[in-house]
Amino acid sequence: MYLSTVSRPDADPPSSGRPRRGLALVSGNVVALGTVSLITDVSAEMVTAVLPLYLVLGLQLSPLAFGVLDGVHTGASALLRVVGGFAADRFRRRKLVAGVGYALSAVAKLGLLLAGRSVPAIGAVIAVDRLGKGLRSAPRDALITLSTPPEALGRAFGVHRAMDSVGAFLGPLAAFAVLLAVGQSYDAVFVTSFCVAALAVVVLVLFVRERPSGEPTDGPHDPKVSVREALGLLRSRPARRLLLAAALLGLATIGDGFVYLLLQRREDLGLRWFPLLAVGTSLAYLVLAAPLGVLADRIGRLPVVVGGYAALGATYLLLAGPVHGWPVLALTLVLYGTFYAATDGVLIALAGPLLPPRLRTTGIALVQTGQALAYLVSSVLFGLTWQAWGPDTAIRVAALAVGGVLVVTVLLLASPPRLFTRKVPR
């Protein structure tokens, strides 16, 4: 019965007769969470924009020495994400866990000041920031799903993600404004970034509510979520299929780095314009996130996710295809941004109703972790394919993989569950 919500939301109990109000945008909690994300992203992207300058020119360090611990970080972050998600469910303190995540990242900004030229210390600070990010996203998304009626989840996530990317756009501008004002003082950027992040935590504490009105969850006397119950999530068929689908979809993404590299190579783009590729993609994401979320509520989330991955496949095909030129470049970026807009929030909107409210944070954390780990695997595989057969073959293989993954995803998430009981690997 959960699955029917996924593919055909209109066949749901028809919104309990509630009129479709186009202007009743999203709940206050979603706006609050969106604002927190917006402010936090300003803070994070401020640091992103100046960190290379700081490391290479400010400290004169060799940044290539930083890649070493990448795998360890990803693993630790994945583990913490799941543990944090479970804690948030068990103690029903999603806001607290998210808040700790935001606060950790805020403190990390000050850590950069204290780390000095010590490469291990800088690595540790970056790791703390990353852990904070890993910790907060699942409880935040769980709060969004719990603050929103199921039929409006797409819109809620769309608005949230759009606000998030607005912050990401403002961050670099803020950083450059600070640098212009104070000269080459990167410290001032880090302190400002910390202050911005701290403001986000204040907004979270004051405006985000742990228990939004009408939360369809258990009463205060219900037993706490146990580890066994959380593990039971892995035995429930809808959740298992969802996790499997999320991981498969993660396998279809080769990563921004490769996409932009291929684009730059085939268009013979001046290397200086390289950063603009990411800007173009984010712009498309920002503009399309909310409309595609609304669309997902209307026509179903699965079709929009499928459309998003089709856009990803088309992106890969364009990268592999014979057509060149600026219009193709622009189209590629728009398609790539569409992929993000149609999948990032919408997938969680799709996932939310499949997960019992008691275990929602754990479930979302598992989905996100599955995707992150699968993505790690796919980027390694793509690198190996490139090494063995060259970039053109590699991207064609990736396009094929998107097609294959899409078919399996649709089978996993759209069909009546009983047909597949025995086919899903455990």
């Binding site: 994070a44 992207e45 640091v47 992103t48 960190l51 290379p52 300058l53 490391l55 290479v56 020119l57 400010g58 400290l59 004169q60 360090l61 060799s62 940044p63 290539l64 020495a65 930083f66 890649g67 070493v68 000095g116 030229r117 490469v119 970056i126 920031d129 990010k133 450059f176 004002a181 104070v182 000269g183 080459q184 003082s185 001032a188 302190v191 400002t192 202050c195 911005v196 701290a198 403001l199 204040v202 907004v203 504490v205 004051l206 405006f207 921004d256 780095g257 490769f258 590299l261 290397l271 200086r272 390289f274 950063p275 990411a278 793509f382 690198g383 490139w386 090494q387 060259g390 970039p391």
Partner: protein
Amino acid sequence: MTAMSTRTKLGVVAVSAVLLGTVAAGYAATAAQPDRTPPPAAGADQAVTLTSGPRLLAITDRHVSSVAAADPTGPRTVSGLECLRVYAAAGTGVCLKPETPWTYQVVVLDAALRPTRSVPVPGLPNRARVSSSGRMVSWTTFVGGDSYTTSGFSTRTGILDTATGATVMSLEEFAVTRDGRAYRSPDVNYWGVTFTADDNRFYATMSTNGKRYLVRGDVAARGVETVRENVECPSLSPDGTRIAFKEAIDADPAKGWRLSVLELATMRVTATAETASVDDQAAWLDAGTLAYTLRQSDGRPDVWTVPADGSGRPRLVLPGAESPSPLT
């Protein structure tokens, strides 16, 4: 918390914003550095030239400067030309020059320090070299940090032939032969070019798959081949028989680098007497002396020299300077 009205909450947010804004502005005000342009020496914009002579070229406080090789602690001539890296040979110089705080260009200089060509480059300055004839110019920049949460740094190394104007924007375009077999990989990065006397062949560092190789390259043939593992930032001796380089300790750059010299005929490596970790492409001041930059704990640079044959001791020659180059 529940008792607070929305209005009160907004008030608290506004007050927090003002307080935090004051903290940030206050810190910025104390941290703001006065324009660091005025160089320390006796008056700015003195005439530094790149003609051959017994002088050392270096960067002092982001400006091209020179000093008598025999008396390096003596008076330093500091030009008005702002560069983050500089190198010169046979009256041709290369300068990695800021356009804005976050964009840089490679500027080719004549003997009077006048720009003759410039190439905008992506990323942040790292290495610069000129061939001994002054014809070939090369540079390395760091590119990346696209995302705070990924350590996606990479390098771009380019080569410019000043005689023809032909430019290779990235050595990644070249074909790679690794251990005798054709090789390709998306994670190939190059840094630290050093040219041989024929103005075509060169040595450089290539990194792929977590390993760093000394490669021998050929500009005309557009290819490189690996020579040896764990050699970074090669610098060919004036007679072309030895390569000074930084050798990652236990082949792990996280443990730092030992400045060493590789004899090409025997492939024997000799560590120099410098035991501090050297993260620089050394310069040969003469047939037996290497110059390199070391940084103090706060990042301030100093130029040191050490004998290339493993004997002697390191010597501090240019306090507060970096990017040393002989003027040959």
